[in-house]
Point group: D2
Chain length 343, copies 4
């Protein structure tokens, strides 16, 4: 039985890890930390977990965490980068759901996150945990940086086009929308039901922190720098990301539907929909799955790709468990077979 530690288990990615790991046959959560809720039972905070865990939150304790086989960080940025070096030194393998190790360039990270990186020495060890790109490196990694939710949906939607050099890489557009759980479980007026229900808005238009992460990943695939205009929007609902991606085709000779189907044919968690079918966030709700549809409207030279995930599953905790399975040599879908909850 693999021993799991979770740092920061009170947020939405934390409770989602707990939901997924509750039914994972090979893993057992043995430690879960929270300064604010130390001493409180998990199932008191999250009654959906009643009967699945007999555990309470504890103060973070490096020794106890280091005794785990795998430690997940389900924390806001700026926590993992301070604790991870010690855990790695103690021999633990770490899966970080936060932004701390997603960007390879410490200076670029620092510009977007407004503070110096606390462990730039460790950055080179970090593997970017998008299995569809980096499965092999993940298998042997000691530190995996799970992609952000928007970056997961946007990259999976654009990779085949960029890898094959079919589009203008300097004018990519991503108009994406997320449920409110993406903003986390923090007491902010901006995320009150009365502020965000029954409304829709763009935010972060001048520059969202996921932009450099996406551009880094897409540049790797394209083999050259790319420029993306990225506009996230806030949906009046809890879970789900829908990215609508626009790119100008520089080569119109390729059957894009066939390309996507072949590209992802062997991927267990990327599902290219048949031609003419487009994804909905509800069909992946609660499931570790990215569904993709595409269209070239009016036969013009702009391709539209639609890519949906559940931001808390394939966009966070599900992908983290997928990475864990890869790291430990388990079947990649262990604990991740949930069917989307529809309706």
């Amino acid at each position: 039985m693999i021993k799991i530690g979770i740092v920061g288990g009170t947020g939405y990615t934390g409770v989602e890890l707990l939901r997924l790991l509750a039914l994972h046959e090979d893993a057992e959560v043995v430690a879960i930390t929270s300064r604010a809720e130390s001493g409180r039972r998990l199932d008191d905070l999250y009654p959906n977990l009643r009967g699945y865990y007999d555990l309470a939150f504890t103060e973070p304790d490096v020794a106890r965490l280091a005794a785990c086989d795998v430690v997940f960080f389900a924390t806001p940025h700026n926590v993992a980068m301070n604790l991870v070096p010690e855990l790695l030194a103690a021999g633990a393998r770490v899966i970080d759901l936060s932004a701390d190790y997603r960007i390879r360039d410490a200076e670029l990270w620092s510009r977007w996150y407004g503070e110096p990186h606390a462990s730039p020495d460790v950055l080179p060890q970090a593997v970017y945990g998008l299995p569809e790109l980096n499965r092999e490196q993940i298998a042997s990694a000691s530190l995996v940086a799970c992609p952000g939710c928007y970056p997961t949906s946007v990259q999976l939607g654009l990779i085949p086009l960029l890898a094959r050099g079919l589009v203008d890489t300097q004018h990519l557009i991503a108009s994406a929308a997320s449920g409110a759980s993406g903003a986390g479980r923090q007491a902010k007026v901006d995320n009150l039901l009365s502020e965000v229900a029954d409304s829709f808005k763009a935010y972060g238009v001048s520059g969202h922190r996921h932009l450099p992460e996406i551009e880094q990943g897409l540049a790797d695939v394209a083999g050259c720098p790319v420029q993306l205009t990225f506009v996230p929007h806030l949906l009046p609902m809890i879970r789900g990301i829908h990215a609508t991606l626009f790119a100008r085709l520089v080569d119109m000779s390729v059957d894009l539907q066939a390309l996507y189907e072949e590209w992802y044919a062997e991927e267990p968690f990327v599902d290219v929909l048949p031609a003419g079918m487009f994804p909905q966030t509800r069909t992946v709700k609660g499931a570790n799955r990215c569904q993709i549809g595409l269209q070239v409207p009016q036969g013009r030279d702009t391709v539209v790709v639609m890519s949906t995930i559940d931001n808390l599953v394939k966009g966070a905790s599900g992908q983290a468990v997928q990475n864990m399975n890869i790291m430990l040599g388990l079947p990649e879908d262990r604990g991740l077979q949930q069917v989307g909850l529809l309706p």
Copy 2:
């Protein structure tokens, strides 16, 4: 492997059965019928099922259904009562999610459903499928009538009080609320998002069809006729039932919290919350679970019991699978271990 047939698989209880059975280790859906969608692949209608089923809807065919070990009816009322006699005669075991066999008295049924019962002869064979009341009879039944969604939540909430004779049985009150999926997947203006989102209303105040079913069940428990004022309400959301139950105590000497905890101590799918904690529909979303909390406000003589379920799971398809497991001698929670999807 148990062979499963489903009649009427295009509605919400149908797709929910498919979600739950997709991961059931001992059961395989081999036939699913729909006149309207005959020939269409399941996963074309329900893309959340892509990868789980390689099946298409077919015209209802008694011979094919009779070859199944278990046949579920996930139909509106008035379908099962016409087909079930033939299926029983052919040796199939039937689990009916509709209202056709819930009320023992054919005449009473007929008064509330506005037409004669089509197979009153079969009624005596039907076992009312509330496992917490009738587990033994269910085990040997050939025909199980699954309770309605409101009746499940209301009965589970009131049974201990009535069984112990603690309340006035002639003035019970149930103020209950349901998500819109309870109204089914039918093209009606009344259930459009623009009609029911962002609003709340009572309906069926003069008399809802679940009233006689609830009164029948509670009378059995109480050992005498009961009178319930039942007011259902429509919630602006998809899944979940919350019943707020009021009863006047005629005996105030009993520790009600302890009573409820003991009463349901061995029940795998009824969870009595600790004193002072009250249930939310979100903590049972997607799970086959009833959560119950109770309070006697101001120390007066009225007890308030709150009982929540997911109407599509413990209120329909989950309970149906639970009944199947009991009928077949399988572990009762087989295929039903999903954790509630929160947030």
Copy 3:
């Protein structure tokens, strides 16, 4: 032109006052205070007000407020009771939307609000601002305490029954539900969209602060103490209150539909629906209106009354403007003619 001051204009009752007063022909808002947002333009915080006000929030300043004809308190409890005495002394008339002056008995208030009342001497001057009960006293009042949102809907729904002595006054039941705006615009995890959307729950079951207020008002009408079991619930939407009221009839000889229609025949803001029609919160959204429907199910001895309001309008700011109109001798519906926003 009547000069209006508003204390605490950043909350939901504040912005709703501003929406209603923007089109009020006889009133002009000249001062609006907020410590937190002092200096910020109203329409920067609330862009729906762009073009209607050329005002910024200011620090609370008694002199400036005292120069107004009418001062509204749109604050949490515990603010008005400290400032009102000074304003009254300076000659201003005050309309308090908070709870500070709703309960006549300072000790009872103190028990429910957990602190001593700051100005018990002023309490006797306060008129409870439910126009349907106290129109005359309101007209001459210098201090009006606007009812809470639940108390408005529950009292309007029960008054005719109690005034006529038709029901058991010791076992009244109110199962009510409110949109999340009732919890105000405060940074609390409990009111995040991700916590309360897509769910329904009871809260405050052991005792909600609106209980003593309702029992005080109903006792006045009944001429004797009453006992109410009051269970509020939280709806996954922004605006609206629906109260479902249950009472046992001790006199079944009265035509209740006719009674209600007559009782409220002259009331401009209470609308008794025709027999068989029941209210929905959406039909009063944005309107200063209470809609009421009633039924005696199955001809038994329990009457069910359903009463709906928009908690921010007839349950707060609309009723406050209605009170202002009465106090100033204006037509009672001045500024309050908005039609409910449906769909």
Copy 4:
């Protein structure tokens, strides 16, 4: 008093016309037709209108309608084009909220709507009712074709850029999202709450009927044909359209914020937000207003314009009343002063 007739008053644009006209000082609705609801009182179908109208739906009757000063068509497409010629001949002025007269080219119309146009002779008389473009022609028109909801938001968002020749006209992108009321009040499974709440999806990606209308309007402004990639999405809420518009700048020397502010400075119903502020659908809910924000992210060569309206107000019935006011020489904001309902 202007006499108003409404054809097809049972849909959402119909009830919204009634809401707005209820408080219009110069207009009176004297006839409202519906085949399906003939004989039923308006306020029985729409209880928010109780007390505002003493009217019932009637069968369509040309003579009765022709006696009105203005006739609104709040019908699906294909109704107005059959009745309008007769009404015009009888001297009525017509404001059509449907699609029948929006596209000047009858053949183009026919290609997108799948049937021949029934009154191509009348098409040249129709004035496209976007007051910000065509105020003068509207004033003297006998037939005004009100723009679609998406076309209103997209055109108002792009007009300044195209009129000034600042962007590549062949690669415009509109990623827009609408509340479900845009789909109308028709009994379709696809618009049930349980289908569209708690989800988000693109639709009509291969070609939406509003595309030719938008391209026609933008081409007029640009002085040349334009190409737009238009992807509409369905929001899990009732009211509101948010268009996120992307265009590649061919001239980066212009201060776009200043351009927009000047362009719309005199427009009563277009509100350009200050730099750095972006619109939300909730700030225009219920109001006849378009709010616009813009940004050039990262100082690159792509401009992003965000444009929001309430699809039922500025996107339909409010704009129709605005057109009526212009046609009749009334103040343009008569009956349209409602403040957005926030929260």
